[in-house]
Each structure stands twice: as structure tokens, then as C-alpha cells.
Symmetry: C2
Subunit: 248 residues, 2 copies
């Protein structure tokens, strides 16, 4: 690593939940850095830190430090900006002292994550390296036995927060669709999937790669209630690809 002037800032994907889905590169960089940073809730919980726990414990850097960036519950744009401004200042201080800093990102740094806020604030002045990770949609596809895309098929990944019109349009134009973070909109999304005639193609997953992971293959049994933040719908062209071990 470049220690001659400023340190390097690493944005490292730690995968969706299973610590074994860390890459060898993520493991090496986490172990070598001077400072390990990550987002943490006000309640003291950090998913990214949990996933990388064994990697951090096995640090090869003798004097490794940690820095939790605490995200307030009430996320107004302004409050979030203040948090990232301050985090960027702390990280820059370390880089200026020729220290290498790693920011742990659940999944992949540039796939629906928060890393871009720090990247945006530090990229002009510092050397940044990004280590891609396994995403929640790849893990969900592997777990459910539903291919994300084959041959000349297409795939759309859309936030559950998009308009009804956008979601309906996507469901009717794409072979395969992932709807990210349905959360509070789960009930409306169930209706939209039904309206697009794709209830049969859909499955629903929560907390993939974590101890409490759950797959619902028949979404018609899902309650029309809000779900947790870490959930998604996968809608695939109809094929019977349910893993044999999971067949009833």
C-alpha cells in the first residue's frame, strides 16, 4: 500500500450476510488497514461489522483501530449529510497521516449502498480503491434456485420506493426483476405484481445469508403488511428451478 504520502481509502464489499461470502481480497484489506470504519445504528448495531467480525478479529495490523459512523434514526437529508461530512473529515485525517482506511459495505459498495456518499466527498483528494462484493440479489438467486438471467434475457433491479407506474412498467417489460427493499410498501408491491400477472413468477426473501433468513416461494400467502428493510422480491421468467432439497 502507498505509504509515501497519503493513505489509501478502500471501499470494500463484505457480501450480503454470510461471513464466508467475503472475498479473499476483502479479507486481506480488512486485515491490513490502520482504520476500519462502518455505519452503525443509534442502537449500536452494524450489519457490515457483524459480517466482517472474524476478519477484523484476525487483523494482521498490530494497532488497528475502529471508527463507527453513527446514522441517526430520523434520516432527513440534512442530518445524513452532516454525518457523512463529519465521517469524511475523520477519514481524511487518517489518510493525511499516511494511514490506510477501509469502509465496510454490506453487499457491494456501489450497489444500492452508502459508500458513494464518502466516495463523493473524498475522491478529489485521495486515492480510493473499491473492492466489489457479492450482492443480495446474487445471494437470493443462489438460495432460491432462480436464475437472475440466462442467455439473451434481461434483468431489472428497481427500488420498492419507485412509483407504481415505474414498477408495473418494469414488471411487464423485463424477463427477470428484483424489487429491492420493499419494506413498508410490501402490500402495494404484492398488488402490483398481481396486476402485472406475475405472482406465479415471484418469490420473496428476507435477511438472506443471515441466521433468520426466510424464503417464501408462494407469495400469495404473504400478509399484506409492511416487511423488514432487508427483504426483496425476485420475479423470474417461469421455469421450475426450485432446488430439489427445498421441494415440498
Amino acid at each position: 500500500m502507498n505509504k509515501t504520502s497519503a493513505g489509501t481509502f478502500y471501499g470494500v464489499g463484505v457480501g450480503p450476510g454470510d461471513p464466508e461470502l467475503l472475498t479473499l481480497k476483502a479479507l486481506r484489506i480488512i486485515q491490513q488497514c490502520d482504520l476500519v470504519t462502518y455505519l452503525r445504528s443509534e442502537h449500536g448495531h452494524s450489519m457490515a461489522r457483524d459480517i466482517a467480525s472474524a476478519a477484523v478479529s484476525a487483523a494482521t495490523h498490530a494497532d488497528q483501530k475502529e471508527y463507527a459512523i453513527i446514522l441517526p434514526m430520523c434520516e432527513t437529508r440534512e442530518a445524513v449529510n452532516t454525518v457523512y461530512d463529519e465521517a469524511a473529515r475523520v477519514i481524511a485525517d487518517h489518510l493525511d497521516q499516511a494511514q490506510d482506511v477501509v469502509f465496510l459495505c454490506q453487499g457491494d459498495p456501489f450497489f444500492f449502498g452508502s459508500f458513494a456518499y464518502l466516495y463523493d466527498r473524498l475522491n478529489d483528494r485521495y486515492s480510493i480503491e473499491i473492492v466489489p462484493g457479492v450482492t443480495s440479489i446474487n445471494a437470493s438467486s443462489a438460495l432460491s434456485g432462480k436464475p437472475l438471467s440466462l442467455l439473451a434475457e434481461n434483468l431489472a433491479v428497481i427500488s420498492g420506493r419507485r412509483s407504481d407506474e415505474d414498477i408495473l412498467h418494469t414488471l411487464s417489460h423485463f424477463d427477470n426483476v428484483a424489487i429491492m427493499k420493499p419494506g413498508r410498501r410490501r402490500s402495494e408491491l404484492l398488488q402490483l405484481i398481481d396486476q402485472a400477472g406475475r405472482t406465479q413468477d415471484a418469490c420473496y426473501l428476507e435477511y438472506v445469508g443471515q441466521k433468520n433468513q426466510k424464503i417464501i416461494y408462494d407469495i400469495s400467502v404473504l400478509d399484506a403488511l409492511p416487511g423488514p428493510y432487508f427483504s426483496l422480491f425476485l420475479i423470474n421468467r417461469s421455469r421450475d428451478y426450485t432446488p430439489s432439497s427445498k421441494k415440498p
Copy 2:
């Protein structure tokens, strides 16, 4: 691993090219299996085998064997089916002898890959486990400094083989678009990206994660000629996210 009856068939993503982007789980499974299989060209080349080379060399299984599935150059549907039928028979023979078999997949097994052909042929009879991997689009995003998606943005992944109409429609409806394997259609795709007014948003990547990897940030300088198979266009909502180390 289940050795009591039949063995387990593992579809394992080995990432897009850099051997350090293997996951810890992929490494462990490759090292433990009785048989390692992968696709190989008639010329004797296997990208997946190359990426996993160090993992195979470090096998913990004392008597590990290899089996290359040779794909003919002239890929008629029928010829390809014959190859996969025969491969499934060989794999089934090993599973029946209570051996565990791993199929190495470049990138992720269910993301534009060939694993589904074997999955389809073996899933009814055998226990199959899929290990997701880092995809070429995540690696390309990390390398180019272009986020695949932020907050409520959407992302489409579309094959370069789709119709002009499909590609134009996708370019105009999605914030971020990856066009996979432009290959022979590179010249038409350059025109379509231009027609959609998104030349400024696009970058072009070849052989990501391999020694000969290449990024073209200004696609207007790209020759209107066919390109290699392992290439892609990334089209992102305009932001200046070019990594500082790569700025001119």
C-alpha cells in the same frame, strides 16, 4: 458434506477474473470436492479454471480429479445440448458414488452463465448448492468508479443481443444500464447509445479483472468495430465519480 447417499453438486461462482475475488466459501468448496468441473474451449482454454487455479492447486482433498467439459466452437443449440447431456451423465456418475462435484462458474452461477444448463439436468435427482460470486458488472462498477445504483435509482442489465428497440427503450427508461457482451454488435450499440443521448454517461470495459483489462471513459473514441466477447458497456446517470487515480 452429505456422504451417506449421493454426493452434492456445487455450482460455485469464482468471480469475474481476479483470483482474489473468490469468496472464502468458493475456496473451501473447491478445495474439498472430489471432482472439479468447468467449461473449456476446443483450444484448451478455460477462464473459470484459470481464475480458480490457486484454489485447485491447494486442494485439501487428497485424490481430487478434474473434468473439462469441452464446448464446440460452432454452437448450434443441438450440439450444445449434446455436450451438456453428456456432462450431466458424467457428473451424475460421480454423485451416485457419493462424491461431491463442483462446477466452476466465471462470475456468478446464475448471472448470464452456463450453470443453469447443468442445474436443469440434475436438480430433480440430486442435492445442489449454489455459491454466489462477484459479477462482472459489480467489478466493472468498482473499477470505473461508476455506481450501479444509489438510493431509489434503478438498474437494467440487458444482453447486447436484444433488439434495437429493446435496447433504446431500456436506455431511455433506466438511470443505469449495463449492456452485456456487446461483442460483434459493438458498432450498432454505439449508435443506439448515441441515439438515446447517453454517450456522455457511458463507459466501455474489456476483460475486467484480467491482465489485459481496459476501460474507455470516452466511448466516442471507440472504433465502430466488433469487440471481444468479454466486454460491456456501463451507462450511468451523469455524476463525476471517476476515481481520482484515473483522472487525466
